[in-house]
Amino acid sequence: MSDTTPERSVQGVGVLLSLTALLLAAMLMSLMAGAQWSTPVAVWQALFHPSGLVVEDLLIRTTRLPRTLVAVVVGAGLAVAGALMQTLTRNPLASPGIVGINAGAMFAVVVLVSMFPHAALWAWYGGALGGAALAALLVWMLALRGQSPGGPLRLVLAGAALTALFNAFSQALLVIDQQGLDTVLFWLAGAVSGRPLTHLWPLMAVTLVALMLCWPLARSMNALGTGEAMARSLGVRVYRLQGAIVVLVVALAGACVAMAGNITFVGLVVPHMARRLLPADHRLWLPGCALLGATLLLLADVVGRCVLQPREVPVGVMTALIGAPLFIVMLRRQGRRHG
């Protein structure tokens, strides 16, 4: 964002403002949507002048508001975690889901549930963060160290292997422990509903702090995009920056999986979409990813609430249903442009 490119950066800021408007609209929709749709006026009443006597107020405040806030934070967190992975590895296919970090967090939750079925919620959350960190460490050892570090193919292969391994362990544990299965089924499918905010605020805080910490690093991330040697000769302390990015990814992915379980594709697809809308500058791209990720997850949740009424489709299933075709379309269009 410099004075040299007024058109581009103004254009970028314009895109960010539009995305913000879109997010606000999606939030309103999420507060309205349900078996019985509420009017915007009713939402306004429920939020700012609640009456203890109206059922709709209660529904909006205790059910729709928490899931809306969770979807916003998780969507933003997962999208930015994916964007950071892509920057770190300079690999457009990287995302915490692809490299096994989400699977690691899931695995840790499953282990905790089957070994300590009555563990407090904070233990689950801690477990998810620990599992994410463990997976990150393993990927780093497998793919990013060694003679030709960081090759895109190696990263994706190591991530696929780790994901398969963690999922196999998780499934084995759940087959043995049927009771645990019921507890974590919700997590396996990915959901933003059904949990009171009182338990979630520490995770939301972790996610929001991690999102904000991206900002001071954004300029150096631009330099890192040109490769490690180049970045170092531009005065970037590359190892320190990479370490900081890994910590942020683990915090974001771990906290988001703890909050909402296994939500796929947001971390992979959203950074690509944002890249098409915004100039190649992390100071615009990362906020764009956050806004777009939050909006998409909200919309997926709204659609999930509506398609199979009176039942709900878990939002993790919806993101895969929407994300996979979208991703394939994007890949095909990209192929055409270059070829």
Partner: protein, 263 residues
């Protein structure tokens, strides 16, 4: 002011030693070219000079100070590097790429200054890229792309520029385009240029100072005329050749001999 030198430099990868007790002192304000056959350690030496590799023993000195004692940012104020085959981030425009050159001159919260602005405009003008400034780097030709990377280094505005094979994989016209640009930067702005070139004849044409490496040591150094004599070329590259004078630039020109011609 930009002097770079190496003293008793030992360096390698894993257990393999690449540079062995290497001594080097490069002249200020000149174009120095490192030559040698594949695997002789010329790229490794350039990386060591750029502080990308840590020596096993010995040291690299930048303006008389051990380069590993200097902070990263300070080094970035004094030398720029163009690695082999750099890749621009997807969707990045030429102007954005060149702006990255101002990274070492900015602080955490400091704004983009008029000086940054000026340096970027100057770098674009210097490299003849003004008209292409808002093009995406991936869409440029090889020569234009290489010029954009050199513009980044120009915007970084360092007295010393290091380049690792800036002409490899370019067509001959683009090779000349890049080397002419570097020559201008040296002659008109007094920048010290150190580069690795694999084409001996281009090296001979553009170098003020030529350093030939063999088996991790400096085998010969001096003007191209001093280094490019048939016996030395045979020792450096294992290649029988004749050397004539280039009729255009009057620098030495190496004519390799095929096996048939030798007998």
């Amino acid at each position: 002011m930009a002097t770079v030198s190496a003293h008793a430099l030992m360096l390698g990868y894993q257990r393999r030693r690449i540079l062995d007790q290497l001594e080097l002192d490069l002249p200020e304000g000149k174009i120095s070219v490192l030559v040698g056959s594949n695997g002789c350690g010329k790229s490794t030496l350039l990386k060591a000079l750029a502080r990308l590799l840590s020596p096993w023993s010995g040291q690299v000195c930048l303006d008389g100070t051990d380069i590993h004692q200097l902070p990263t940012r300070e080094v970035a104020h004094r030398l720029s590097l163009l690695p082999q085959q750099p890749v621009a981030p997807e969707g990045m425009t030429v102007r954005q790429l060149v702006q990255l050159g101002r990274h070492p001159h900015q602080r955490w919260l400091s704004q983009w200054s008029p000086d940054d602005e000026h340096q970027v405009a100057r770098a674009l003008e210097r490299t003849g890229l003004e008209a292409l400034a808002d093009q995406v780097v991936d869409t440029l030709s090889g020569g234009q792309r290489q010029r954009a990377w050199i513009a980044l280094a120009v915007a970084q505005n360092t007295p010393l520029m290091l380049l690792d094979e800036p002409t490899s994989f370019l067509d001959m016209n683009h090779q000349m385009e890049v080397l002419d640009l570097l020559h201008e930067l040296n002659r008109e702005e007094g920048r010290t240029i150190v580069m690795v070139l694999h084409d001996l004849n281009l090296a001979g044409r553009y170098a003020d100072h030529m350093v030939a490496l063999r088996a991790g040591q400096v085998y010969a150094r001096g003007t191209p005329a001093q280094v490019m004599i048939p016996e030395r070329i045979e020792a450096i590259f294992g290649l029988a050749c004749r050397v004539i004078e280039d009729p255009c630039s009057h620098t030495p020109l190496c004519i390799p001999l095929s096996r048939q011609a030798r007998s």
